[in-house]
């Protein structure tokens, strides 16, 4: 039988953080991310893709942009995405897998591709991209988002970085031509109709592109909308695409030593706990950089000089035994964490906490009268277990070779109940 790669692997730091002062404990990173004495220091190379986007701005500018975009993640919006976009698309995508049934009657698929397809429509909906409707258009859109993700994480690429940037900027031009420009044009026309009093405010789409053009700021350059859109598209798909394969791999391994838990895959609370562990152990962004605005001494006495760029390494911090217990480096869906979120620093901290986190993890009830949402991870994983997901024993998953990221490049599965 082919050998499987380990579910937990140690990776050397990528070149872009070598030479920087590293912080690795949960407490010191939490202190840095919350502090107003630091500004964003990540994404220096990926500026062509993310420059002046929400990810890279600080202070008042960040507050105003976040205020503009936050309604896209209000409770009502999350419920809409989950019930109207995500859940039907999960079912539709699995239904289409039936066409891939082999001569032995088994349905086979690559989980990485399946996940990107499932998430394509929700990414399009939150961003405001039209025309992701037919299987052909969905495939084209999915491939664009996948390529844009390569550019977004260029700092972690094992390829020549300048070449990656050149290639992906050309891909973005094609994406503009095939999807983005027409989506912008339709929304700008609707906004004009609204300003002329021809339609009501609530007849406008609720998505990023509409928000940007409805509240246009003359300080923005014309390229900002596509950079902000690329951030949303990548972020809306990357975390779940990254985490679900890890979740499946960990549970597969866990069931070997805890066979009594196999039946619990129908328990969404169990899946949620397992998903939190996968998020904690395998971070889509394993390190973030910050720049000190002034000389800083942390609570533990470590010092950082003005304008010094430092690396916050989330992988060791999320395995910090002082926070997550003596077995912090292992997967355990029964882990009890009381002082922090169960996924630790996976979505960052301070004002730069990922704005789309609730899309992935769901949003707990906001009032006594609502139920909250489950998020993409639990909904997708539950549907996969309902479909009888098993890791293909003859074709083991493989990590990507194109990046220093802790990510699977391919993850062949069987869907035994389809």
């Amino acid at each position: 039988m082919p050998t499987r790669e380990p579910t937990i692997r140690e990776m050397p730091p990528p070149p872009h953080i070598v030479g920087l002062q590293h912080f690795i404990t949960y407490a010191e990173i939490d202190e840095i991310l919350r502090s107003r004495s630091f500004r964003q220091g990540s994404h220096q190379e990926s500026q062509p893709f993310f420059g002046r986007s929400l990810l890279t701005i600080d202070g008042d500018e960040h507050f105003e942009r976040r205020r503009l975009e936050a309604p896209l993640f209000a409770k009502a919006a999350l419920e809409y995405y989950e019930h109207t976009e995500l859940i039907p698309l999960i079912g539709k995508t699995l239904e289409e897998c039936r066409d891939n049934r082999g001569d032995d009657g088994i349905v086979r698929a690559d989980l990485c591709v399946l996940l990107r397809t499932m998430l394509a429509r929700i990414a399009a909906a939150t961003t405001g991209i039209d025309g992701v409707d037919t299987p052909e258009r969905t495939t084209a859109f999915r491939e664009y988002v996948e390529q844009l993700g390569t550019g977004a994480t260029v700092e972690w690429s094992t390829e020549d970085h300048d070449e990656v940037i050149r290639r992906i900027l050309a891909v973005r031009d094609d994406f503009d031509r095939d999807f983005f420009a027409s989506s912008v044009a339709r929304r700008r026309a609707l906004i004009e109709q609204f300003h002329q009093g021809e339609i009501e405010r609530d007849e406008l789409p609720v998505d990023l592109i509409t928000m940007l053009y409805l509240h246009w700021n003359d300080d923005w350059d014309d390229g900002l909308p596509i950079r902000e859109a690329c951030l949303f598209l990548v972020a809306a798909t990357q975390t779940t695409t990254h985490s679900v394969p890890h979740l499946i791999a960990h549970l597969d391994e866990w069931f070997e030593t805890h066979p009594e838990d196999r039946a619990r895959v129908t328990d969404r609370e169990y899946i949620k706990r397992a998903a939190h562990e996968a998020l904690r152990l395998h971070l889509p962004s394993p390190a973030l950089l910050r720049i000190a605005n002034e000389d800083v001494m942390l609570s533990n006495g470590k010092t950082i000089a003005t304008d010094e760029r430092v690396a916050c390494l989330f992988t060791p911090a999320n395995r910090d035994p002082n926070v997550f217990g003596p077995d912090a480096g292992e997967f355990n869906p029964y882990r009890e964490v009381s002082s922090v979120k169960p996924w630790g620093l996976t979505f960052g901290g301070g004002e730069h906490i990922c704005i789309g986190r609730t899309l992935v993890t769901g949003l707990s009830a906001r009032t006594d009268n609502d139920e909250g949402t489950d998020g993409t991870l639990v909904n997708i994983a539950s549907a996969l277990y309902d479909a009888g997901i098993e890791i293909d024993p003859d074709d083991p998953p493989a990590y990507t070779e194109a990046s220093h990221h802790d990510a699977y490049g391919r993850f062949p599965i069987l869907l035994t109940k389809l």
Binding site: L33, R66, R67, A70, K341, G349, E351, I353, L363, R366
Partner: protein
């Protein structure tokens, strides 16, 4: 208590002390010396509902309930 009356709380285990809540709903939230957000009016009037709802959605750690 009226069922519809606002009852605002902040989960201090989740609060990151970013202070966006204070900026959009200063009559309800205030950042303390402990760098955490504190509710200064747990049952604000209905006129504050929109501001509280925006504070909840805007909070980076989604630490507010109402």
């Amino acid at each position: 208590m009226n069922e519809e009356q606002l009852h605002v709380t902040v989960d201090h285990l989740q609060c990151q002390g970013v202070g966006y809540c204070e900026r959009v709903a200063p009559r309800v939230f205030r950042l303390g010396d402990d760098a955490l957000s504190h509710v200064i009016d747990k049952h604000p009037p209905e006129s504050e509902r929109e501001a509280v709802e925006e504070a909840e959605t805007l909070c980076p750690s989604r630490a507010i309930r109402y």
